[in-house]
């Protein structure tokens, strides 16, 4: 997913799915260098892609009942 996220893509999502909750400048500011605890948008989405593709079996989200059988 690296290097495919553009300000235009994010601005369109912000405008069309989130009723323009943030300004175009706010959204454009996400693309580029890191800030605060965010290294870069591309790297976060790349890492998140790996996390989302991990097969965790029957593990349930934290706080919800487990569905696995005892080993």
């Amino acid at each position: 997913m690296s290097n495919v996220i553009t300000a235009g893509t994010l601005q369109a999502i912000n405008r069309e799915l989130h009723r323009g909750r943030f300004t175009e400048d706010d959204v454009a500011g996400l693309v580029g260098t890191g800030h605060g605890v965010i290294s870069s948008l591309d790297s976060i989405f790349a890492d998140l892609g790996c996390i989302c593709m991990r097969d965790l079996g029957l593990i349930a989200p934290d706080g919800l009942p487990a569905l696995e059988q005892e080993p």
């Binding site: 912000n14 500011g29 996400l30 800030h35 605060g36 605890v37 976060i44 996390i51 989302c52 989200p61």
Partner: protein
Amino acid sequence: MIGQVRPSVKATAAALSRGEITATSLLDASVGVIEQTNSALKSFISLSIGRARRQAAEADRRLAAGAGLGPLDGLPFAVKDVYETADLYTTAGSRAFANRQAIRDATAIAQLEAAGAILVGKTNLHEFAYGATGENGWSGTVPHPQDLTRLAGGSSSGSAAAVATGAVYAALGTDTGGSVRVPAALCGIVGYKPTFGTMSLEGTVPFCWSLDHGGILTRTVEDLAPFASCLAGIERGSIETLPQPLRIGIAEGWADDAEPDVARAFENALGALETLGARLAPVRLPDRSEARTVSLVLQLSEALAFHAPHLERAGDLYGEDVRSGLVLAQFLPASAYVQCKRFVTDYRRTLAETFKAFDIILTPACPIVAPLIGTKEVRLSGQTLPLGNALTLFTSLFNLTGSPALAMPAGVSSQGLPLSIQLIGPARGDASVIAVAGALERHGLGQKPEATPTRSAARERS
């Protein structure tokens, strides 16, 4: 160092019960330190002097009658300005919450006041606790009490500075990725977050419900014990005894990612533990980089859920870094949030399994010493990290696992800045964490000068 060295909680409580000093004189000393330091440090956002004076007078009446409430009776404390109070605004360090008034005090404040402790004020923080540097464009950035060109760290920056300067005996913070332990580490004090859910956060402004922990900052581990007992239900007797045998897991490779002075302090701590009879063995922990992304997704998603209506009302009053995080949050899919919550389950199971073989895991608390104000990035082990990531490199995993964790002083760097280690225990293994930290402190690790109550600024009872 700005401020004063306070006597210990134990010595102060003894002096109070013997009538050598009064709660009112302790409060006067606190106010004196705050007046002396706050223009430079910006540790406090608001003060509660009238209420504190009434409580100090009541404590003095109790103590004079021999009816003191225990070791915390008459001791001044502070809270991070996310803990709600009925008589002061709870700003969360944000212009957007500048006039936010709660109708009652947070439970943790009520618990301390029931034990006789006296709230003197509310401390500064990184806006909405979103960030580890403590930089804040509205309420001011808290500099390091020892070197005003450096950062105190955050997000509980004011709480750390208030304790380090001796303004209070303890300050409450919150810790979502290291926000109690990081400023404690940078300022050379103790920062403790109990097992997830054991210290009440009722009546606090949330950042991320899944990861927010209450936390306590004190000058020493010895001082921490009565506050931990009051707020996290730790039995006082249980922290006197070390696990036998004492099995310490050394986080494999973590110290290699720290600055050389930090790594040296960590090695010294290992030596001290061996002297105490501990068995040391390496332990492999979950991947920190992956855990950081998991943590970030949970933090930002939950923060946006809380802040969405406030953004609608006052979005232009938010600081730039918080706002940018919330902007990012709206692009994170719900499935990613759920998957990250599944990772939390996995991490908790992994740690529970690990703790079958260990009583405590030891890591450095922070890979760097207090950075200069204005630092944006840090280079560690050949990687360039945003400062916030670097500061929380060794802490954020243990918010995901909900483990009790404590940062404590472990010496000073070649520049004379504090160094720190972190002790982590199994869920509800808080007593062991405090017991081992206490043993290290008594062994001399990170030793500090001690003051006596009569040498402090406190005036004797007239």
